[in-house]
Symmetry: C2
Subunit: 186 residues, 2 copies
């Protein structure tokens, strides 16, 4: 992690230690992850003992237009709000066919068909989110993306609706592995 730059690499470790207590782990698609009781979220490439460790890096947007970005920035709030005692870690991997699509084809599925940004906007600022990319960290990453969401207990049903809307979209037909890990601040 270089001096003045914000951290970009984050490690999510599943085991019996960490600030987040696991209240549910669901295999949505493909292979599950081993069950754990706690999840820790650390800036950098932490390597404390854990049952599994997932790494991702924040990066530039890949699909969002200037107009959409403006709307997101205006409505979204950061992670770490005191009332956000619920969180979810949702690792996904997309198919090789997805990655072989051209940029305009992926954009059409992502937004014109699946309304990915539009859906996310509906749940702002209640659901804060940080997207981590894994696919270009190296060749052996088990997932392409790790998304971390934080929200208050009163917004738990809204969060369920958000993920249900996305899973019903055309974009999700290109997802081949997904695990849904729900946690509460310990």
């Amino acid at each position: 992690v270089s001096g003045a730059q914000p951290a970009r690499v984050f490690t999510f470790a599943g085991g019996d230690a960490g600030a987040w207590r696991v209240v549910g782990m669901t295999r949505v698609l493909g292979d599950p992850l081993p069950e754990v009781s706690r999840v820790s979220v650390t800036a950098g490439t932490a390597d404390a003992p854990a049952k599994w460790r997932l790494r991702g890096i924040t990066s530039n947007e890949r699909y969002v237009t200037r107009d959409e970005k403006g709307q997101l920035v205006a409505k979204q709030q950061g992670l770490g709000r005191p009332e956000s005692t619920r969180a979810a870690l949702i690792p996904i991997r997309k198919t090789a066919a997805w990655w072989a699509l051209a940029q305009d084809e992926r954009r059409r599925i992502f937004e014109e068909s699946s309304r990915h940004v539009r859906i996310g906007l509906k749940y702002l600022p209640a659901v804060a989110r940080r997207l981590h990319h894994c696919r270009d960290l190296g060749e052996g990453e088990p997932f392409d993306f790790l998304t971390w969401f934080e929200y208050a207990p009163a917004d738990a049903a809204a969060f369920d609706a958000l993920v249900a809307e996305l899973r019903a979209s055309e974009e999700w037909r290109w997802v081949e592995r997904e695990v849904d890990i729900r946690v509460v601040r310990a």
Copy 2:
């Protein structure tokens, strides 16, 4: 490197060993790289002794449309042609302002203004190329992209024209570091 998948991570090492003999190193923008006499190109994260070592990973296209991808695939040829005894390694880094642009803004600069794909197409199949991404390998990478080009001696002037066209484009105003390393097969 996993079994059946093609390698995606490549290491370019500068030193006094390697299959490519350096015939010119030019600092185009920003900090130079230390002068070396040879460059090696290796699949994976090689760590043999070297004066400098640059790593990158091949990835999905970020800007190219289906139509453009079709034209590129139809015209391009692979690396390693026997007559391609000349090559160039051109590492570049773009500004933080570039990475803060939205996708549609970057696409407009990349193609509608700078004709990046259109320029590359003009020089196909003479100039073969492989693009490696570095920015999402981690936080400490010195460059964002490493592009490796191969061509025959008779196409050296055409290659010079290609890089001159790109450097004159709007896209290149967003480049803050660039080194141009020309090599011949040793």
